[in-house]
Chain length 669, copies 2
C-alpha cells in the first residue's frame, strides 16, 4: 500500500496556506519556515508522531520540540488539524495579546506545545533532555511492560545549528547514545540576513557524525516518501539521528529561496501568488474535509489507539509499580521528611558540603532526583554517592556528567523537567552561570522547578582570581522574573534553602553556595527553616526596643554582620542583624512582616554582600550604605583578598558610623 497519496499532498498545501494566512492576518510572523517545512512535519505527524490530542498530557506520548520557534504558525496549524484544543478562531488570533497562539510557542499556554522556543539552539537542548528522561525512566519502569517507550523529535533550522548550545547539546547526546532522539534539520540554506553561505560554511552531517550521530540527507524536502523512509530508518538507529532535509524557504511564495520570505508576511499579493503557485482555491482559514478526515485518522485515531494500548499495559502492572508510576507522573514528591532534615547546633562547613549532605538525603527519599555538574562535580559537591554515572550502559543511574557545557546543561535540565517523571538539578561555579543564563531564563518563563547549585560564590574563591570570582552574577540572577535565588549563611540555612528548592512547583531555584567554611550561626537551628522561607528575618535583634540601625547581609557576610553588631555594641550602637538569604522571597512577604524585619522609621541601614551593590538600595534606601563590590575581584589567598576589598569588621563598623541619616529627611516633601 502506498503510504502517501494526493490527500497528503493536499494536507501539506493546506498547512502551508493556512500558516501564511495566519501570519498575513497578524501582519507579523515568519512564513519562510512553515512553507518550507510543512512536508516534513506532515510526514512526521501523520505517520510517526504518537500523540493523543484528547489527552495531551499522556505520559508516554512522543515529544516534538519546534526548536526553530519562529515557525510557530506551522505548529499551531498542525495542532489544530490534529484535534488539539486549538480552534480556527485561535489561529485567527495568532500573535494577538492574550491569545492562545502567541508569536513563539509558549509552554503552558496551549496543550501540545511541549516547550517554549524561539531563543535559538535551546529547543534542541531541551529535546536532548526529554530523550534522556525517557531512557532513564524506561530503565526504571519497563521491567514488567513497555511503559515508557517513546521518541523525541525536534525540528531545527540553520540558526539553531549555528548557536553554541547546539554543539554542547548534540555532543552530549552523542556521548549518551540517545537513539530515540530524531532531529529534522530544515536545511534551507537561508537565515534572516541572507543565504547561509554568508556565515555558515559547515558540513553539518560531518559535524554531527563527529559527535557520534547517525545522519541522513533527504535531497527533496517535498518528497514525503523519502522523508518517511528517513524517519523510519532513524527510529531503528542506536544513535541519535540527524536528518538533513533540503528545503526551499518560503516554498511557493514570491521570494522563495531567499531571506526576503524569512520574517515578513507575504502581503496580499504575495499570498495570492502563493495560492496560485500551489493551486489552492479553498476559502481562507479552511481545512478541507479530506485533510481533516485524514488528520483525524492518521494523527488522532492512531494516537488514541496507541494510548489505549498503553493504558492496557499499565493496568496490568503490579500495584506497587503502578502506584509509583502514578506518583511520578503526577510529580507528587514525597516531601514528608521535613522533620528528618539535619539540624546543626555547632561546627562549621562549606555550604557546598551541607548541600552535598542534603543531596544525599533527598536522593534517598526521591527516586526521581537526577542531577550533575558541568565537569565540576568534585568542586560543586553534587554527586549522588549511592549512584554511578548515568550513561548509555547505565541509564538508570542518577549522576549526569554534562561536560564543560553549562548552556546545554541548563537546556537539558529544562528538557528533563518538561518531560516529567524526574526532578532535576545542575551545577557549576556561580561565575559561569553567565554561560547558561539563556536557559535559566527559559526555565523561569516555563515555570520549571529546576534547582541550580552554584558554588564558589564570591571573591572568597581566592587564587583563581577575577575570572572565577562572581561579582554581578548574584544580583543578575535575582533580576530574572520567577527565579528564586537563595544564598544561605550557614549550614542550617543551607538545609532550609534546599528544602525551599524541593518544595518549589512553578519556578526555578538558584542556590548560591560557598567554597569556604561557614560557622553554624547562633539561633539558626531554630530560625532558619521559617526565616529562609520568608527570605529575610531578624537573626540577631537589638537589645532595646528599637534598633539604632540595621545590618542586612546574605551568605557568608552574615557572620561578619554579627561580629560587627558585637563591635558596635561596645561603641554604644544597638543594631539588629537581618539575614537576607533571598530578596525574592522577602519581597513576596506582607508589608507588615517586612516592616517588622526592617522597621520603616529606622533608616540607618548597612547592607553587606560581596557582590554588585546596585539593587541593595531596595532595602537601605537613599540614606543607607552598601558594602559590596562594584569592581572585579583579585587573585590571591582569600585571607588577603577579603580585607583588601573592604570585608573586615573594622571596615564595616566604619561604614556604619559614616551612615548618617542626614538633615534632608526632616524636611521631606
Amino acid at each position: 500500500m502506498k503510504r502517501f497519496d494526493e490527500i497528503d499532498e493536499q494536507a501539506v498545501t493546506n498547512l502551508r496556506v493556512l500558516s501564511a494566512e495566519m501570519i498575513e492576518r497578524a501582519n507579523s510572523g515568519h512564513p519562510g519556515l512553515p512553507l518550507g517545512a510543512a512536508p516534513m512535519l506532515w510526514t512526521l505527524w501523520s505517520h510517526h508522531l504518537r500523540l493523543d490530542p484528547q489527552a495531551p498530557d499522556w505520559f508516554d506520548r512522543d515529544r516534538f520540540v519546534l526548536s526553530a520557534g519562529h515557525g510557530s504558525a506551522l505548529l499551531y496549524s498542525l495542532l489544530h488539524v490534529s484535534g488539539f484544543e486549538v480552534t480556527m478562531a485561535d489561529l485567527k488570533q495568532f500573535r494577538q495579546f492574550g491569545s492562545r497562539t502567541p508569536g513563539h510557542p509558549e509552554y503552558g499556554v496551549v496543550a501540545g506545545v511541549e516547550a517554549t522556543t524561539g531563543p535559538l539552539g535551546q529547543g534542541l537542548g531541551m529535546a536532548v533532555g526529554m530523550a534522556l528522561a525517557e531512557r532513564h525512566l524506561a530503565s526504571q519502569f519497563n521491567h514488567e511492560a513497555q511503559i515508557v517507550d517513546h521518541f523525541t523529535y525536534s525540528l531545527v533550522g540553520d540558526g539553531d545549528l549555528m548557536e553554541g548550545v547546539s554543539h554542547e547539546a548534540a555532543s552530549f547526546a552523542g556521548q549518551q547514545k540517545l537513539g530515540k532522539l530524531i532531529v529534522l534539520y530544515d536545511d534551507n540554506q537561508v537565515s534572516l540576513d541572507g543565504p547561509t553561505s554568508r556565515s555558515f560554511h559547515t558540513d553539518v552531517c560531518q559535524r554531527f557524525e563527529s559527535y557520534g550521530w547517525e545522519t541522513q540527507v533527504v535531497t527533496d524536502g517535498n518528497d514525503l516518501a523519502a522523508i518517511d523512509a528517513a524517519i523510519t530508518r532513524a527510529k531503528h538507529s542506536q544513535r541519535p539521528s540527524l536528518i538533513a532535509v533540503k528545503t526551499v524557504i518560503g516554498f511557493g511564495a514570491p521570494g522563495a529561496g531567499t531571506n526576503a520570505v524569512h520574517g515578513n508576511p507575504l502581503g496580499t499579493a504575495g499570498l495570492q501568488t502563493l495560492r496560485q503557485n500551489l493551486n489552492w482555491t479553498a476559502a481562507p482559514f479552511t481545512i478541507t474535509p479530506a485533510v481533516a478526515q485524514r488528520a483525524q485518522q492518521a494523527i488522532e485515531q492512531r494516537g488514541q489507539q496507541a494510548h489505549h494500548t498503553w493504558n492496557q499495559r499499565v493496568q496490568q502492572l503490579n500495584p506497587t509499580t503502578l502506584a509509583e508510576l502514578k506518583r511520578v507522573m503526577q510529580q507528587d514528591l514525597p516531601l514528608d521528611f521535613a522533620q528528618q532534615l539535619p539540624v546543626y547546633d555547632e561546627g562549621a562547613e562549606a555550604s557546598r558540603l551541607t548541600s552535598h549532605t542534603m543531596i544525599q538525603k533527598i536522593a534517598g527519599k526521591l527516586p526521581e532526583l537526577v542531577g550533575g555538574s558541568a565537569d565540576l562535580a568534585s568542586s560543586n559537591k553534587t554527586t549522588i554517592e549511592t549512584d554511578g554515572l548515568l550513561t548509555a550502559d547505565q541509564p538508570g543511574e542518577r549522576n549526569l556528567a554534562f561536560g564543560v557545557r553549562e548552556f546545554a546543561e541548563g537546556a537539558i535540565l529544562n528538557g528533563l523537567t518538561l518531560h516529567g517523571g524526574v526532578r532535576a538539578f545542575g551545577s557549576t561555579f556561580l561565575v559561569f552561570s553567565d554561560y547558561m543564563r539563556g536557559a535559566i531564563r527559559l526555565a523561569a518563563l516555563q515555570k520549571l522547578p529546576v534547582t541550580y547549585v552554584f558554588t564558589h560564590d564570591s571573591i572568597a574563591v581566592g587564587e583563581d582570581g577575577p575570572t572565577h570570582q562572581p561579582i554581578e552574577q548574584l544580583m543578575s540572577l535575582r533580576l530574572i522574573p520567577n527565579v528564586t535565588v537563595i544564598r544561605p549563611s550557614d549550614p542550617n540555612e543551607t538545609v532550609a534553602a534546599w528544602w525551599q528548592a524541593m518544595n518549589a512547583t512553578d519556578h526555578p531555584t538558584v542556590l548560591v553556595l560557598t567554597r569556604q567554611n561557614l560557622a553554624v550561626l547562633p539561633r539558626t537551628n531554630q530560625l532558619a527553616m521559617t526565616g529562609v522561607a520568608r527570605g529575610g528575618y531578624v537573626l540577631s535583634p537589638q537589645k532595646g526596643l528599637q534598633p539604632t540601625g540595621i545590618l542586612i547581609a546574605s551568605g557568608s557576610e552574615v557572620a561578619l554582620a554579627l561580629k560587627t553588631q558585637a563591635k558596635l555594641a561596645t561603641l554604644g550602637q544597638d543594631v539588629s542583624v537581618v539575614s537576607m538569604p533571598s530578596m525574592d522571597l522577602f519581597s513576596q512577604q506582607s508589608a507588615q512582616y517586612q516592616a517588622q524585619v526592617l522597621p520603616p522609621q529606622v533608616r540607618r541601614r548597612v547592607a553587606i554582600e560581596m557582590g554588585a551593590t546596585l539593587g541593595w538600595e531596595r532595602f537601605v534606601g537613599l540614606d543607607g550604605t552598601i558594602v559590596g563590590l562594584d569592581r572585579f575581584g583579585a587573585s590571591g589567598p582569600a585571607a588577603d583578598v577579603l580585607p583588601a576589598l573592604g570585608f573586615t569588621v573594622d571596615q564595616l563598623v566604619q561604614a556604619y558610623q559614616q551612615t548618617h541619616v542626614g538633615q534632608q529627611q526632616l524636611n521631606v516633601i
Copy 2:
C-alpha cells in the same frame, strides 16, 4: 642541522619543574596542563612564535592566547625565560594578592599576556578575532610592504572544545578561511572531573574538518620534532589549523594521566617524585644557564631580529601610509567631528535607525571601524553601507556576518580590539545579550572599548513575545563592573550615546536601542550631548523653584514621563522630568551634580522603565515608586501590550499620586 637537541629537552623539563614549583609554593594552581603541554609550547615559542620581549607591544608580533588559562604557570615560565618583564621573584609570587602573576592570565597586568583567559572557550574566540584583525589590516597596509603579517596561535584544552563558544568561533573561522590561525589542542583526554570518556566522545578532528579547518595529529606530545613539523605545515595552510597533540596530563608526576593532577598542587613528595622521574637536580626556581642561553637566542634574539627587519620595512613606507599606520597602532581615533554630528530638531525615528546614521558617519571618518551582527543586521541596522561583507575574498571590507553566534561574536570583538588597529562593534537583540554575557564580562575585565548595539529593547517589540522581549537584561548589564550602558530617549540622545561609545578608551559601551519610533524630545537638541555624558539630567524642569516630585525615566519611557508631567501639571503637581540614559555615568558624577538633578529633599519620585525594577531604588529610595516590569512580557501588538502592562499616562499619573511620602520620614533616626 638538527632543529632540536638535548638543550631543548632540558628546557622542556626546566619549564615543567618550574611551573610545578610555582604552583607548589602558591599551594594553589593547575599542574596538569604545564606538565603535559610544556613540549608543544617550548617548540612553538623557540621555533615559531615571533615576539620581541623588549618591545612586547610590537604591532606585528605573533599573538599567542592560552585559552586553557588555568595553565598560567607555564605561560609565566615562558615569559620569564623569554626575557619578558617577569622576574623569578614574580614567579615566586604566583597567585598572590597584588602580584604580576595572578591565578589566570590577566591582560594588562604583565606584558606578554595577550588576553585574559580562564572562562573556557573564549580564548579560542579571541584568537579568531585577532587573526581576523590581522588579515583585515594586512589588506589595508601591505600594498607597499609586508607590514601586517603575523600568525595567531592558541592553546586549547578539552574543556575549551566542549564549550559552545568553541563551536561558534571555529565555525566562523572556517567560514572566514583564517589560514594564519593555528590552534594547538592539548589532547590529554582528561578534564577536571575525570577522563573525558565520561562526557566527551567527539571526534575533534572530524568536527573541525566539518568547519573547513585543516587538522593534524601529533601522536606523541613529547616529540618536539613532530610538533615542529606540524606547526610548520600549518603555517602553509590556507585554512585555519588544528593540531591535536596527544599528551599525558601531569606528565612525570604521581597521578599523571588522571584528573588527580589537574587542579591540585603536587605536594612536597609529589614534586620530589616529579624531579626524580624527570631526572632534574637543579635548585628550585632555577633556569639553567644552557636553557637561559637557548631561550635568549631562540626566542629573544630571533624576535628582535624580526622586529628589526620589520622596522626597516616600516621606515620605507611612504609618509602618508606611515602616518596612518602610526595613528592606527596608537589607537588614536580622529574624533574631531563633534561639531559635525547630526542634530534633530523635529520628527521621529527608531533609535536603531539613528544609530544606523551614526554608524555611517563614524565609518566615514574612522577607517578602523568594523562591526556586524549575529544574523540580525537587517533588524539591528548595523550595516556600513559603503562596504561589503568582510570575507576571505574581500578581507578589507568592514561588515562582519557573525552568523547566529552571539557568544563568539562577543569573543571575536574582544579579539579584534585586543589585536589593535581596529575599532569594533557588534549587535543583536537586547534579549540575546544573555547569550554573549560571558564575553561582555571579559571585555569589561580587560578594559576593551567594544561597542554593543542591542536593539529591540523592551516589550514594545510586540508580537515576538516574551522570548524576545527583554526584561532583566537592561539592569543586568548595568551590574557588570566597568560597562557603560546607555539607553537614549530620542534621536539626539542616540547621537550622543554613540559619541560616548566612540570616546571610550577603557571600557565597553552597551547601546540599548528601540525597534519603534522615538519622537525628538524638546530641548534634547541642546541638552543631549552633555546630558548623556553625565548619565542623567533634568530634561524638563518644574515650573516653580522646587519640584513637588521627580519623574525619572530612560529610553522610550522619557516621552511618557513628559506626557505624565503635563498631565500632572493640570492636576496641580509641579514635577520635573529627569532623563537617565545611563545610570553608570550618572553614578560617576559629583554628589553636587547628582543633588542638582535629584534634590535630596525631594523624595516623591517615580522611576519609569520597561524592565526589571530592582536597582531603580538607587534613585527613588524607600519612599518612591518604580513603574517597571517584574514579570515576563507578552505576545501582541505593542499598542496592546504596553497599556496592558501599565505603561500609559493615566497609569503613571496614578502611580505618582499613590507615592505618598509617609509620616515615618519625619521621625527618622
